[in-house]
């Protein structure tokens, strides 16, 4: 198998690219949903399904690439550069928490718990960036709403990711790639 490592790398790259494009499409879809009218600033965060799945099968670096492509493309397509900084801060906070949980305590948490923590971290990161830019901590009065939103969407994203991971596990090719990834470490 080792002699095919270059092909495997290419295969993994394509999978991550597919993940990224899916995440972008989900991001566009959710921008059309009237979700934000209930709690302004909250989003379902469907793209996180792909980030979580990527973290599950591949490395943190792969997931970071996915996040970079996803946030950049989404900002380009939706034209949301004025709030780009806040999305990036949210995405990075979410990534850091989910990566840490999966890397060091995969057995202690269910996938849903990882996703919920990621969702909450996303909103905390976003709000912290907003507090820094606006120079006020009073914006944290809004935190309970975003916390609750993060928990609800986190549960949904976690369940969706679990289904996706289970299905992908049935594909031999995928299991092989993930296995190679773990052996390579």
């Amino acid at each position: 198998m080792r002699s095919f490592s270059e092909a495997d790398g290419l295969r993994k790259l394509s999978v991550i690219a597919v993940f990224a494009s899916l995440a972008v499409v989900l991001g566009i879809l959710e921008s059309m949903m009237p979700f934000a009218t209930a709690i302004p600033g909250a989003k379902p965060g469907l793209g996180n399904i792909l980030v979580l799945t990527c973290l599950w099968f591949f490395t943190g670096r792969d997931a970071l690439w996915l996040i970079a492509v996803k946030t950049l493309l989404t900002a380009f397509i939706l034209g949301t550069f004025s709030t780009f900084l806040f999305s990036v801060m949210g995405a990075l906070a979410s990534f850091a928490v989910m990566w840490t949980m999966l890397r060091f305590a995969r057995r202690a948490f269910s996938l849903t718990a990882v996703s919920v923590a990621g969702g909450v971290a996303h909103n905390l990161g976003q709000l912290t960036a907003a507090a820094a830019v606006l120079g006020t901590v009073r914006i944290y009065y809004y935190l309970p709403f975003l916390l609750a939103a993060g928990i609800v969407t986190g549960v949904f994203v976690g369940l969706a990711a679990r289904h996706l991971i289970r299905s992908l596990n049935r594909i031999g090719l995928f299991r092989e790639m993930a296995g190679l990834e773990r052996d390579g470490k």
């Binding site: 934000a36 009218t37 302004p40 600033g41 034209g79 949301t80 004025s82 709030t83 806040f86 949980m101 305590a105 057995r107 202690a108 948490f109 269910s110 849903t112 718990a113 919920v116 923590a117 909450v120 907003a130 830019v133 606006l134 120079g135 006020t136 009073r138 914006i139 944290y140 009065y141 809004y142 935190l143 309970p144 916390l147 609750a148 928990i151």
Partner: protein, 124 residues
């Protein structure tokens, strides 16, 4: 349900309680003024009894229009791309906020202007 899940639930419940309890416990107290900040600097303080008063904010980032009504304030117009600030609706309770991140506009409700202490009542 794993052990870590329980720990996470406890942390989140504690976090929600710490932030939500003071937020909702004093929601009934009188709200008198809204403070508007732009780019982290105080922009204007508005009495919430000035029914019908409109505040226009024009910066290099964009345009926002707020309107005072019924003891509260709301964002009625903004040329920001996401229009989230309008989604906050009519705010009238203590500590409620409106944020327009693209334009760096932040509005929050406080108690009596200059009073400082936000007390409901004092009983001797």
């Amino acid at each position: 349900m794993k052990r870590g899940d329980l720990v996470l639930m406890l942390i989140l419940a504690a976090g929600l309680a710490i932030f939500a309890v003071p937020r909702f416990s004093d929601s009934g107290s009188a709200a008198r003024t809204a403070i508007i900040e732009v780019d982290g600097r105080p922009y204007m303080t508005v009495g919430l009894d000035e029914d019908g008063r409109e505040i226009e904010i024009r910066t290099e980032r964009g345009y926002n229009r707020l309107r005072v009504s019924g003891g509260g304030i709301e964002m009625v117009e903004a040329d920001c791309p996401d229009q989230l600030c309008i989604g906050f609706g009519h705010i009238h309770r203590l500590h409620e906020t409106i944020t327009c991140l693209p334009h760096r506009v932040f509005v929050y409700i406080t108690g009596d202007a200059g009073g400082g202490a936000e007390l409901d009542a004092v009983v001797f």
